[in-house]
Amino acid sequence: MSNEQQDKPVKISLEKIKSQDKIEVTPINPLQLVEENEQQEAAQIVFKEQTKGGIKRLFWPAFSTLVIGAATFQTYQFIQELFLTNAMLGMAGIVVAGAALVSGGVALFNGWRARRRLANRQSAQQEFKRILQQDSYGKAGHSLQELTQEISEYVEISVLEKKYQSAKQQVHNDHELIQIYSNSVLAGLDKMALDIISKHASEAAVMVALSPLAIADMALVAWRSSKMIQELSRLYGCPQTAFGRIDMTKQVFKNMMLAGASELVAEAGVEMLGKTLTASVSTKVAQGIGIGVLISRMGIQTMSLCRPIEFTEQNKPRLSHLRKAIYNKVVGIVKNTDRDKNEERVKSPIIDDITQND
């Protein structure tokens, strides 16, 4: 058996090799150690195509063809009419239609790319998770290097990267390498991400607390959270465009629903504390803080979506830190403006409840 021979020990004196030149020695670079058969194996496992009902499957292609066809036809007719009125007007019509077509195409393309990036990130997350469960050696280095390149397209991370490079050793296995990467490069990004979240959340909180219109609040939330998602996704190297963001927001909400129940239970205690805190401020301020917390939640979910290596129980970002920052900011600002306006404070309904119960 050829396999057995490979298991026998071999000892070579380097001095002797140099004279005989029979053996080729290269310092190893774990990055080059991606095993081929592993890739083959992965290629063999493919998702079976999902079979949807024949007619149902036709809906979207047919519908979009219809819409696009109708639109093209209408535009064509419209430009033709313009030409009939005036040649210059017709030309202008063509230019405008062309511009719309091109910009629309580019936007679609970018959106598609952003969505693909997100999908790729998600599969990278799964891949790292899989490696973390194995006892392999020499497979992770390559993927981590690719990841660094991906992120550094958008963010300057050479300081964090240096930290990673100096901490890792050739003897580290895949599990350890991924952990070191997560604790150095990604931990640095996490810190920045929390700053971003805290900034957007408290800004939104202050705006809601100060805004007189309830409807405006909705728009505010949508605007701030969208902005935050954009910044966060960019930070982790998979920036989302307007189109992509909708997709992402959908996922963020889905995750929040899933996480919702358990998270609520876990944080019930903190939530209570939050309530007693908010009890002493006005309803509007309490609403603001509520919005801030909601946006923070969204931010944390976005982080876990974009982060290539999943959070562990130890490094998972906690809502309680953010909550405190938001509270301080909102109460600080609102108190100042309150004093300026010399307005009367509204008592919180919670306090009302308590007094009524007594």
Partner: protein
């Protein structure tokens, strides 16, 4: 004294009390058979702590990663009767122009390291920004460790065990001299100092032969017969096990008090109660954390008999440390060990892609012993480490095959070599498979070590496991 002054004073005292309460102390027991790498481990352990304030090679030691360690220093040890561990001498050996491993330990030695660090706990932080952790670590010859199982044996039980052991491996041939001299005397008759002393002499010679034999025999008892320390030449050491089956079968209380058997028993009891027990009492009382070092490489080199022998020895040791409720170490010494690490040492001899196999091999070797023990409230971890890494991994092509090897300076020839030691199996091989396996773990000498932080493999994980939770 005005009221204000009084208030200030008591506030100050209270604060001092809190501060003193915050200074923590941890005592670490390093256990391992001789040549398992205790001295090298302790040297590296101290070294990593001394340089932890500014060392980015400790990614898994959170205290260092978060840069919370301000500094560390070796303190003069308050117990003056225990010699100090000679850390700087060890470093000198390693970094000399002709580097060597520190010489093997012949007696007990102890070191105390004080680590100053930033407090991160938000309550304690209010009382004190910085605090310190004092770490005690003890080195002693591994030979003496083998006396630990004697503590729960009677002379008769020990003799029975020795008789069983003689049947295994190459012991019988090595023991021939001693067995001959013992057979000449009637053990149940009145004792004669001259002949007992002679037999004891030949028993000690037998143990020395075991120690030096190529078969890598682990179980050599009593430990001080090999390394007597201050007991050299004392009559306490003049005894030996009774391996005569006919005598073992009899009831010893029928023998005269002056019979050889009873005298040997008395000496054994004295050795057990007056030499071994105080040693372990002093050593194990107040121990908080324990690390057991296991050298799997010598076992792999020597084969099946050696494997079984080490397995038996380590099982005995682990049972002695039975951490459960009603164990006898606890009753005797009342230690409060709450964490145990089992480490396969010298993993720098093994190409990194096989580290996992080394870990699995060790875990499997100790599986039975670990199953037998109930570790109540004890956190346990095991991994492959290297206290001082003196090799580097390389890829070499041999006979058209790519092999991951290690490159380093061979101890015996002082030549730079590339070594593929063989493939470590994860499952312990059967006796038949052992004979087909071939290993060649050569000893590597230290080379190119600078006096700064020593290169290591997974010492950061060890530090984190043993000390991490002791920092506030």
């Amino acid at each position: 004294m005005s009221e204000k002054d009084w208030f200030k004073e008591s506030y100050y005292t209270a604060k001092q009390l809190v501060e003193r309460g915050l200074d923590k102390h941890v005592r670490i027991a390093v256990t391992g058979l001789s040549c398992s790498g205790k001295t090298a481990f302790i040297t590296s352990f101290i070294n990593q702590l001394l340089f932890a304030a500014d060392n980015d090679r400790l990614p898994f030691f959170d205290m260092s990663k978060q840069q919370r360690i301000v500094g560390a220093k070796i303190q003069a040890y308050p117990d003056l009767h225990i010699p100090e561990f000679r850390y700087s001498a060890a470093i000198e050996y390693l970094t000399a122009s002709e580097p060597q491993w520190p010489p093997s330990t012949s007696s007990i030695a102890q070191s105390q390291i004080k680590i100053r660090y930033k407090v991160s706990n938000r309550w304690y932080k209010k009382a004190k920004e910085f605090s310190s952790l004092t770490v005690d670590i003890v080195d002693y010859p591994g030979e003496w460790l083998l006396d630990l199982p004697l503590l729960r044996m009677s002379f008769k039980q020990w003799s029975t065990q020795c008789t069983e052991c003689l049947g295994r491996g190459s012991r019988k041939e090595l023991a021939q001299d001693w067995l001959d001299s013992q057979n000449k005397t009637q053990l149940s008759e009145m004792y004669d100092e001259q002949s007992v002393s002679e037999i004891a002499q030949s028993y000690r010679a037998f143990l020395q032969r075991c120690k030096q034999s190529k078969a890598n025999i682990s179980l050599i008892q009593p430990g001080r017969f090999i390394l007597p320390g201050e007991l050299a030449g004392a009559p306490v050491l003049d005894f030996f096990p009774v391996v005569d089956e006919s005598i073992l079968a009899q009831d010893w209380s029928s023998f005269e008090a002056e019979s050889t058997v009873r005298v040997l028993e008395k000496r054994f009891n004295y050795y057990r109660d007056k030499v071994v027990k105080p040693f372990f009492y002093e050593y194990f009382s107040k121990v908080d954390r324990q690390i057991l070092l296991v050298d799997c490489l010598s076992v792999l080199n020597s084969g099946y008999e050696s494997y079984r022998d080490m397995q038996f020895t380590l099982s005995q040791l682990l049972q002695s440390f039975n951490y459960g409720q009603s164990n006898w170490v606890k009753r005797l010494f009342n230690p409060s060990i709450d964490k145990l690490m089992i480490a396969a040492t010298k993993s720098d001899h093994v190409p990194p892609e096989q580290h996992r196999n080394l870990e699995a091999f060790m875990q499997n070797m100790l599986q039975q012993a670990r199953n037998d023990i109930r570790y109540e409230g004890i956190k346990m971890e095991s991994m492959a480490i290297s206290s001082i890494n003196v090799t580097q991994p390389v890829m070499a092509e041999h006979d058209g095959k790519k092999l991951m090897c290690v490159q380093g300076v061979e101890q015996s020839t002082k030549e730079t070599i590339i070594n593929f030691p063989g493939k470590i199996p994860q499952q312990p091989p059967t006796k038949q498979q052992w004979s087909d396996l071939e290993f060649d773990f050569v000893n590597f000498a230290p080379s190119n070590l600078s006096p700064g932080a020593l290169p290591h493999i997974r010492m950061d994980k060890v530090l984190h496991f043993l000390l991490g939770d002791k920092f506030l």
